[in-house]
Amino acid sequence: MTLVFKNLRKQYGANVAINDVSTDFAPGLIYGVIGPNGAGKSTLINMTAGSYSVSDGSISLDGRRLDGMKKHQIANSGIARTYQNIRLFDQMTVLENLEVCAYPAEVYNTWREVLWPPYGRERAAARRESAMEILRFFGLEGYADAEAGSLPYGRQRMLEIARALAMKPRVLLLDEPAAGLNHHETAELTAKLAELRSPERIMLVVEHDMDLVMTLCDRIVVMHHGKLLFQGTPAEVQASSDVQLAYLGTDNDIDDIRAAAQDRRAQLGIRARRRS
């Protein structure tokens, strides 16, 4: 099972958001997608999930083209995603947010559900139990009947991931899952995401939080100005001068920045920290 980006391009008028990106993703690994703001990270997720159209190139899962398919068809092909700005079904309960993911599989049984109460009860109980299982994994079972919108922010982030899992996805796309979380919540999230690693699942995590990315991810994809700048293990990425340049500026700038930082520390009487 592989997710393949081939010569992917996304253009808005004169603005090229994604410029000839080609790579592939294998299951059993967690991929981090990083890059400065505007690099195109979320755009990649949006294109894979079908929210944005593809200007050129292709996205395929196991050889099947995803680009051009309708959003719900892509979802039913096994792609689940979370959003940068949380998009839960606020007025539905936490359980319902997960139970509704059974729709594609069960919609055609609606007549039986409605007209034959025993079958309806049985289905409702089964859906509830599947949902509860996932909630328990995330420690959210206590919120089961609460309105999703009433949960604390950190719990809502977890819930969105739980909902994505309720789709039994083959590909899990997480768009800045740690945004707005404090240290403790981020650590909790990192641990939970690590448990989701599976030989049957491809995971992409777009993130700004470097601690999370370096701790969690097996491979890191670095985006810059819409191009794929570098790919590799966390160690390789940290060592790469290309990546450093991209984040910090040109050669000259790095020296200037270091010099200015030294002056400042001297001014403030701070001793330089030695990085090991």
């Binding site: 929210s51 944005y52 159209s53 606020d90 007025q91």
Partner: protein, 316 residues
């Protein structure tokens, strides 16, 4: 033949002018608040009733009213309706500025019903004869007849539209209104008085609509509490056709719609051999409305909204 053509053109220009005056109100409100104001047609109706009220109360004998009295009634009525519009906005729409997207529209449904039934209770539901604001002279022009009412409507409408255009494009208030239409949050951050801009729109929109109502009632000699409904919908069609949110669009859409209506109702019986007659005129404008919204919702001069930037959060 030429005479009929001239005749129909003048008719279309006349009714188009009235549509334009009302359409401008829809488009400006949509521009600043992104809201479809269902109660706007009622401003049209209130203009006629307000003018009638001024005439009967302040001028006295309706039969013997002179030019001065009529002018007083006209300006008094439209300004009163303008202030009324501002008041309605404060009461029924302002509290909803940060609510769901369709809440103001639903509120305007309620306001519309309230105004129509209010007038029905106060003035009776039956149509009332309305005095003409213009002397009843007819002119022959290249074989067609043009009445002074029609000329009056054209002149009044053009003057008002020109005044609005100047205000929007050349005055400070105009800049403020345009800024708020572009982006309300940004305007607020820049210290622009957003409330003032919105009030200005809710003053001038109803004012123009009321003027349209007085002119319309003069033209047809009659007014009724429900006169705002169908005309309002047609003016709304005009605004959508031209591009909702665009002032030139509203004017363009109004005249196009008027010409299509006049032309269509003239041709419809001919084309269908009398099967479909002039009573399908209203269906024509609904059909245009539906078609535009389905095919090109941005209208002729409107900005196309890209699919990807649309937000689908809960609407009411």
């Amino acid at each position: 033949m030429l005479g009929t053509f001239i005749q129909q053109t003048v008719n279309a220009l006349t009714i188009g002018s009235i549509y334009a005056l009302i359409a401008l109100g829809y488009t400006m409100v949509y521009g600043v608040l992104r809201m479809i104001n269902f109660a706007h047609g009622e401003m049209f109706m209130l203009g006629a009733y307000a003018a009638f009220l001024v005439l009967t109360v302040f001028v006295g004998d309706i039969g013997a009213v002179g030019a001065f009295g009529l002018t007083l009634a006209f300006f008094g009525a439209v300004i009163a309706v303008g202030f009324f519009g501002v008041g309605i906005e404060r009461l029924a729409y302002k509290p909803l500025r940060n609510s769901t997207r369709l809440a103001p529209m639903l509120s305007s449904l309620g306001v519309s019903l309230t105004l129509v039934t209010g007038v029905q209770i106060l003035a009776g539901p039956q149509p009332v004869a309305f005095p003409s604001f213009f002397p009843a002279t007819r002119y022959d022009f290249m074989g067609g007849t043009v009445t002074s009412v029609q000329i009056g409507i054209l002149v009044a409408a053009f003057v008002l539209m020109f005044a609005l255009y100047t205000l929007v494009n050349r005055s400070r208030m105009g800049i403020i209104v345009r800024a708020v239409s572009e982006s309300r949050p940004t305007a607020q951050l820049l210290g622009i008085n957003v409330n003032l801009a919105i009030s200005a729109v809710f003053f001038s929109g109803p004012l123009l609509g009321a003027a349209g109502g007085i002119l319309y009632a003069s033209y047809y000699g009659i007014m009724s509490p429900t006169m705002g409904a169908v005309i309002g919908l047609k003016a709304f069609t005009a605004a959508i056709l031209g591009g909702i949110g665009s002032i030139p669009g509203a004017m363009l859409g109004a005249y196009i719609l008027a010409f299509v209506e006049v032309g269509g109702t003239a041709l419809l019986p001919l084309i269908t051999n009398g099967v479909l007659g002039t009573e399908y005129r209203d269906v024509l404008s609904f059909a245009i409305l539906i078609l535009v919204l389905l095919v090109k919702p941005a209208g002729i001069l409107g900005e196309p909204v890209s699919e990807e930037s649309m937000v689908y959060k809960r609407e009411f």
